[in-house]
């Protein structure tokens, strides 16, 4: 509160107008944000210290006018090679086999020179925008006019464990809530019969660090990701055991409600007791409705074919992409799909035979991913659904070993893409150097590339959440997904 002789518009080294812009963007936004400050955020942030709170997953209003309501994050676990997929590097082909001076940092440590592995696929131009895409993705390539590519992504770690945590939670240590947790914390869920944050794993297994990748960390468990299986009962404990028929279970629930209601009579001021009574009824409804969300019987044959359910290669990822559309359609806020699981060549971690690895994973996912974009678009859902594609990092342009085509990890520059709600299609922003080894600065002297935090800020922004204001009070700090320093969304990709 400065009584000051400086211009009145000065605030925190920003002009008042800049501040208004950053805080809200518009009068409505600011008014809304102010309202939220006093009610929703104030209450939520105190909850960690024991103040009671209610309905943590009830749908909430965002800070700003949202462009997207839901997110589908197609996580290409292991780290796809950008120079073999979407980051076209013509200069790299003729260097194949030559040893060049290039700084790299991967799981095998830092190097200053290595043997180039030329890109193993041909690139062609697609769409109105003329985007170069490799032969690995002939189906996705047809959607480039809806996609914004970010070619200069950077992350802090070239090691799977910590890089996975950073892509999912912003921090390289575990203990912080994941992106999906932040989103459901900020916006709640629009369907109480389904979890707000859903994770579908690859059939080969979970990623490294397992549940840490969908944990709510220091936030309540309400915001953690729920594993959803594409076969069998979709959610843990959703199906009653065979020797508890539904009719019996209903009788049990009725009796339970009667006992709990009697118990509540003399304890009417304890809202938790009433909430727990309601939770059993919600569980009953989930049990009834969640299987419907994963039941594909009412999808047309054409749709199933579109996603590749009729082909063994694409059937699994196709099924999960189709489920993702059905979940988003039903108001699930954040859906994350893993392409690749477990270790080594079960995911995109191509240390050995690059061609074999990438042909396999791209072949499993290209048609389903394209189908998801097609399907979302034709149903109008793409306008309100943000689709993200990418891994925890990219790969080096050079060989990891003396022999072979295997590439080591690369967090200094890699590609991710986004499409849908709030995203401008047909654009490519940021670039790596001519070898694709590292992101370069858009303006000389500036920081190279777009850090993972910028991606997270973009996602929150598209959902109408201000990345620099969405906070959760913990450990004496207003914790934010993007950290304490202000982070801008990648404005170049915003529609």
């Amino acid at each position: 509160m400065p009584p000051t002789d400086r211009p009145a518009g000065q605030f925190c080294r920003r002009t008042r107008r800049e501040f208004l812009w950053q805080a809200g963007g518009s009068f409505t936004g600011l008014a809304l944000a102010g309202l939220l400050d006093q009610t929703f955020f104030a209450r939520q942030t105190r909850a960690a210290d024991g103040t009671p709170y209610a309905n943590p997953l009830a749908a909430k209003l965002p800070h700003l006018a949202p462009r997207a309501k839901s997110v589908i994050f197609l996580f290409m676990y292991g780290g796809p090679s950008h120079v073999d997929t979407f980051d076209y590097k013509p200069a790299l082909y003729p260097l194949d086999g030559q040893t060049v001076k290039v700084k790299t940092k991967g799981r095998g440590g830092e190097r200053s020179e290595s043997r180039v592995v030329g890109p193993k696929w041909k690139f062609s131009r697609y769409g109105q925008c003329g985007k170069w895409v490799s032969d690995l993705f002939p189906h996705v390539a047809r959607h480039v006019d809806d996609i914004a590519f970010v070619h200069s992504m950077t992350a802090d770690s070239p090691i799977h464990g910590s890089a996975m945590l950073q892509m999912n939670s912003g921090k390289i240590q575990s203990g912080a809530p994941c992106l999906g947790s932040w989103v459901t914390y900020g916006l709640g869920s629009e369907n109480e019969n389904l979890p707000g944050f859903v994770v579908m794993l690859d059939p080969t297994g979970g990623p490294i660090s397992g549940a840490k990748n969908w944990a709510s960390g220091f936030m309540p468990a309400t915001y953690q990701g729920t594993l959803l299986r594409s076969k069998g009962p979709p959610i843990l404990d959703l199906a009653p055991p065979d020797d508890m028929p539904l009719e019996a279970q209903r009788a049990l629930l009725d009796a339970l409600r009667a006992e709990n209601t009697a118990h509540l009579l003399s304890r009417g001021d304890n809202t938790e007791l009433a909430a727990r009574i309601a939770a059993y009824e919600l569980a009953w409804k989930m049990q009834e409705h969640a299987p419907e969300a994963v039941n594909l019987a009412r999808e047309t044959e054409e749709t199933k074919r579109l996603y590749g359910l009729d082909t063994p290669r694409t059937a699994d990822f196709g099924r999960r992409c189709l489920l993702a559309r059905r979940l988003v359609e039903r108001g699930v806020r954040f859906v994350q799909l893993y392409s690749g699981g477990a270790h080594n060549d079960d995911n995109w971690d191509a240390h050995g035979d690059l061609v074999k690895n990438h042909e396999f994973h791209a072949g499993n996912t290209d048609q389903p991913v394209a189908a998801l974009l097609t399907d979302l678009k034709r149903s109008g859902l793409l306008d309100t659904t943000l689709v993200i594609w990418g891994g925890e990092f990219g790969r080096q342009p050079t060989a990891e070993y003396a022999e072979g085509t295997g590439r080591d990890h690369n967090a200094l520059g890699f590609t991710m893409w986004m499409a849908g709600g709030g995203i401008k299609g047909g654009v490519s922003v940021g670039e790596t150097d001519e070898l694709g080894s590292a992101a370069i600065a858009p303006v000389e002297g500036e920081k190279p590339g777009f850090h993972v935090k910028r991606l997270h800020a973009t996602v929150l922004h598209c959902l109408g959440l201000d990345p620099n204001r969405l906070s959760y009070f913990f450990g004496g700090l207003d914790q934010k997904l993007v950290g304490v320093e202000p982070v801008e969304p990648i404005r170049e990709v915003l529609a």
Binding site: P2, P3, D49, S209, G217, Q249
Partner: protein, 801 residues
């Protein structure tokens, strides 16, 4: 306007009434309770210790009332018209109005500031940084005695009376016993204990219960868990491999024993912080230092130096929040934005830990983190002698083996005669025996230092470990300045091969002069009995924390705790014997309206069982509970669907025999990336960061697990078998089916809810069982199991009055 309390009176409204009437305003506004938290939350981010926009600093009276460059003064004590702060917070011009973010201050808040300025802008030092006082008990002994009140109640009653709130009614005896048995031991009372207490109308009945509970070994298990939450205890390191920490469970056992043996809290702290530096450290003192090894550890960091400082930061954060209630971690990159903790204080505290060895490099280094432990009453010197002897024998055996093998390599198999061949076998066997003998000696997870000389510590610009260190930024180990302690005296400890820095820290932490240590701990004890601390933010006693609802009581308890030799059981006893603890959860409506958050303790707040309490109570009800204490962690069965989330399903998870799985939840192996579902569902503390207050969430997925999950289904089955067996064994003659069902139903209620069943309840139970039998495919025995499942799901089972 009237000053009396009307039925719709609320504290804030009352303050407003007093203020606008202009009467006794200084008495109505409390700087600590009303003004300081407002300034901290709404102003300090830009006008506090770290930043001073426009030169204004609002975290001290002198600075806040100084003349600024503009010639104005934000606060002019006694002169609201001249105080620019008031015009800025009330300005209608959005470009001028402060604070710029969020809602403007409310009329009540503005009037409160005005009244405070009118009254002279009194600015006492933050309560938590002042030395602990010894307030007089505000009630004379005779009056207290007549009302059956103890000193705690004197403080609470005086405040209740002052606010015109009614004193609470006592809780029914059954509810009280159940409440206390859980809050002391984490388990339900037995039926015999309930019977005894309900039947004991003699004087001293409650005291006897309290003493019995505090003597129970289950007390240590339950209270250890509270401590383990604070020190982010886990048996693994997280990150990619989430590998095991060797012998971490011994630390868990140490904490259980410390509580059970009523180890003085000052010693408990000293052992954890510097047990290894004590003269001739005991096994306990060494194991206690496992405290340093409990956190996350990245075995493959992308940036080694950064990872090293992140690891040290974890220690500073945990120590600051857990021991001191200070969020000193906020001063890593810049001065604390709210509390008077400069960045220098952070690095001065970090310096105490700077010489500690890491967990290892890629592999955990046993020389750094493990140590053979002395026997009970034995010394480390004996251990060393023993280790040297083992090493000597091992080297001899190895040398002989090597020599023979070299001969074999050089000359081929024909070079060895039978005798030498036998020799080789003998040496190899001997080596195996030596190794076995070595393994038999218990080892602990411990702290070690690099040596007696510690490295220099520098303030890191923006917290960046790669920043160039500057000589003027060198810091020596020191305590937060605001707490006014003398500089530490540091004496290296060559016997421990360590710098002695941690001993200096430990001595200060555990001193009666430390204004925070005792306050923070008594508040935690209070918190776990009453469901909330006197300070609601138990790990944040700073300016952003909640002010104490009963500051004098807090200080009185803290001084009593220290005077009583830092003994926790004495403190528990004092609390448990208070009328406040024995209060009913019901209260009058007026109090509920005037004090909805129960700031004044006009009743006892009900609570849900914790995750562990719930799981353990289910085992108790089903009859399979295994009270075995101590030892390596156990592995309850985890559904395959959950293990499927791992990159190698089942990796790092063992199998334990059924009986072992029925031990208390505190003995479950804590694998950071694989938490037992029922515990995760019911808000177990996240093991990655210190957890001062657990959440209590209520959500449908809990209900799914409690109805459909394999754990509950299995337990309901066991429970039904137990109840049937006990109910029918007690029956003198065979009855009708309905009569048998009624007996079993009655028994189920008695076991699970530890009370007599009402006839109406039994009738409802029998009706349910009969109705279930009519459902398809439900046999009579299955119907009883489902009835048991229903009872385990009852709110009465999961909640305490």
């Amino acid at each position: 306007m009237p000053l009396v309390c009307s039925p719709w009176h609320r504290p804030a409204v009352a303050a407003w009434i007093v203020l606008v009437s202009g009467a006794a305003s200084s008495a109505a506004v409390d700087f600590q309770r009303d003004v300081q938290p407002l300034l901290a939350r709404r102003c300090y981010a830009c006008h506090g210790p770290d930043e001073q926009e426009s030169g204004l600093r609002l975290d001290g009276r002198a600075a806040a009332s100084a003349t600024l460059d503009s010639g104005q003064r934000a606060i002019v004590p006694g002169d609201p018209a001249a105080s620019a702060m008031l015009s800025r917070v009330t300005s209608n011009d959005p470009d001028l109005r402060m604070p710029p973010e969020g809602e403007p201050l409310s009329a009540t808040q503005v009037e409160m500031l005005r009244a405070w300025i009118v009254a002279g802008a009194d600015w006492p030092e933050h309560w938590a940084f002042r030395p602990v006082s010894r307030p007089d008990v505000p009630m004379d002994d005779a009056a207290a005695h007549d009302d059956g009140l103890n000193p705690i109640d004197a403080f609470i009653t005086v405040a209740l009376d002052r606010r015109g709130l009614q004193r609470p009614r006592p809780a029914p005896k059954a509810a009280l016993l159940r409440r206390a048995t859980y809050s002391v031991t984490g388990l339900p009372p037995t039926e015999a204990e309930m019977r005894d207490f309900l039947g004991d109308e003699s004087p001293g009945a409650w005291e006897r219960v309290v003493d019995r509970l505090l003597a129970s070994p289950h007390y240590g298990e339950h209270w250890a868990r509270h401590w383990l939450d604070l020190v982010r205890y886990a048996d693994t390191n997280s990150f990619e491999r989430d590998g095991g920490k060797p012998h971490a469970w011994r630390y868990r056992d140490y904490v259980i024993r410390a509580f059970n043996h009523d180890k003085p809290y000052d010693l408990f702290l000293v052992e954890q912080v510097a047990g290894d530096e004590l003269p001739n450290p005991s096994s306990d003192a060494l194991v206690a230092t496992g405290w340093y090894r409990l956190g996350l550890w990245d075995d493959e960091p992308a940036d080694k130096l950064q990872a090293r400082f992140d690891w040290l930061d974890d220690l500073v954060s945990t120590a600051g929040q857990t021991f001191l209630g200070l969020t000193i971690n906020c001063a890593r990159c810049h001065d604390h934005k709210i509390d008077p903790l400069p960045q220098r204080d952070y690095y001065a505290l970090l310096a105490f830990f700077h010489n500690i060895t890491p967990m290892g490099d890629r592999q955990m280094n046993p020389d750094f983190i493990e140590r053979a432990l002395p026997d009970e009453g034995g010394s480390l010197a004996e251990v060393r002698d023993h280790e040297e002897e083992i090493a000597r024998r091992r080297n001899e055996a190895r040398a002989n083996i090597k020599a023979i093998e070299r001969r074999l390599e050089e000359h081929g198999p024909q070079a060895l005669d039978d005798l030498t061949r036998r020799d080789l076998d003998t040496w190899k066997q001997l080596l195996a025996e030596i190794d076995a003998e070595d393994r038999k000696r218990p080892r602990g997870l411990v702290v070690t230092e690099y040596g007696t000389e510690a490295p220099d510590t520098f303030i890191l610009f923006r917290g960046n470990p790669h920043a160039e260190p500057a000589t003027e930024h060198r810091v020596t180990p020191g305590f937060p300045r605001i707490l006014g302690a003398a500089a530490p005296t540091i004496v290296p400890v060559p016997e421990a091969n360590s710098s002695g820095r941690r001993t200096a820290l430990a001595r200060w932490l555990a001193s009666a002069e430390n204004p925070l240590t005792a306050r923070v701990m008594v508040n935690r004890v209070w918190q776990h009995h009453f469901g909330r601390g006197i300070v609601r933010s138990p790990s944040n006693f700073g300016l952003m924390g909640d002010p104490p609802t009963h500051p004098e009581l807090l200080d009185w308890l803290a001084s009593e705790f220290v005077a009583g030799g830092w003994r926790l059981k004495r403190l528990h006893r004092l609390i448990l014997l208070s009328a406040a603890y024995r209060a009913a959860t019901t209260g009058d409506e007026t109090s509920a309206t005037r004090d909805p958050l129960n700031d004044a303790f006009w009743r006892f707040d009900p609570r849900r069982l914790s995750a562990e309490e719930l799981r353990d109570s289910i085992h108790v009800a089903s009859g399979v509970f295994n009270p075995k204490m101590y030892g390596p962690g156990v592995f309850p069965d985890i559904p395959a669907e959950v293990k499927a989330g791992q990159s190698k399903p089942g990796d790092g998870w063992g199998t334990s025999p059924t009986a072992e799985q029925c031990r208390r939840s505190v003995y479950i192996h804590v694998k950071r990336s694989l938490i037992t579902p029922i515990l995760a569902d019911f808000d177990l503390a996240d093991p990655d960061t210190p957890c001062p207050v657990r959440f209590t969430t209520t959500q449908p997925t809990q209900a799914l697990g409690m109805m459909n999950g394999s754990f509950l289904q299995g337990q309901a089955r066991l429970f039904a078998a137990r109840a049937r067996q006990e109910a029918l064994a007690a029956a003198t003659q065979p009855g009708s089916a309905d009569a048998d069902t009624a007996r079993i139903v009655r028994r189920v209620i008695e076991i699970a809810l530890v009370r007599r069943a009402t006839e109406a309840e039994v009738a409802r139970g029998v009706a349910l069982v009969n109705r279930l039998e009519e459902a398809d495919g439900v046999s009579p025995s299955r119907a009883l199991e489902l009835y048991c499942l229903m009872v385990l799901n009852m709110n009465e089972f999961a909640y305490l009055d």
